[in-house]
Symmetry: C2
Amino acid sequence: MDPIGFTNHDHAGCIKGTLTQIETHCREAGLQLTPVRRRVLEILLHEHRALGAYDILDKLREEGLGSQPPVAYRALDFLVSHGFVNKIERLNAFVACAHPGEVHDPAFLICRKCDGVAEAQTKSARGQLGSTAKLTGFQIERAVLEAEGICPNCAEGPVV
Amino acid sequence: MDPIGFTNHDHAGCIKGTLTQIETHCREAGLQLTPVRRRVLEILLHEHRALGAYDILDKLREEGLGSQPPVAYRALDFLVSHGFVNKIERLNAFVACAHPGEVHDPAFLICRKCDGVAEAQTKSARGQLGSTAKLTGFQIERAVLEAEGICPNCAEGPVV
DNA sequence: CGAGATGTGTTATATTATAACATATGGCCT
DNA sequence: AGGCCATATGTTATAATATAACACATCTCG
């Protein structure tokens, strides 16, 4: 499986770069990127696919960084609330954000076979709904698009 | 609260019309709209907002139509799989579909105060991602847009 | 009638998530 | 230093959501 956005890329560099970027962002914004939070972020960057909270908790437990659900959920809450990680509602799982720091309405391509997740740009998800929202007076704060389907890897070599 | 798409409409007529429409559809397609399935659909049409599976189960239980989770989940599975009901992943809840029968990628405006849900038209959610999907070879099967915000009712008269 | 497909009843359990309270840790004010 | 507040973590318990598995009923079709 190669769920890294479904295309090859410099994974080691991507992890390191994003991590550095987020570290800087936290330092400047006065956010505490504590060991647990940092480790959860690293795990998600490393896996580069959607992981459930309990998958993450298992890894933390192996490393002696925490063993009870709130440990994982708190770290994830922090990371999600600051835009470093996104929650994929459809999978009840979490994935490192491809564009941390930027304000954006994320869109995801989710493979229903391998659970690989690619984050896409969607400039206008909000704009799309804009007309409907305006008509009714609804104020959109966040918009998430989740598309389910088959990724190229699973399409070529069916798991069956 | 008036979460009916956030605008007034002929609710009784809307329930009846949709129900008739779905009944016809089922008859023609050879689908069994059994008592439990029909009742769950009615409940959702009547409430016209997102209900959790256990909320629905409570109502079924009161009416003697079933008391165990699988009863509700099976009915919901049927209704969702045939496009009569949509699941709002963000809320782990279910809402009657505003456009049953039509093939469409639904979009929802979800009020984070009252949990009211309006279903919007979104012709191009799929098209939006089309370019990205094409680039990577991802085959989109379903796409759902969920927007969170404040509905006009909650904005005007804050619950606080 | 018998076989297969579909739907329901029921028990048990899996999975995901949070409430609540105790214990650190570090800054900051006097 | 001492006291105080905010923030983070540790821990126990439990809530909320969802499904597996098996027994039984009903219906159709050959």
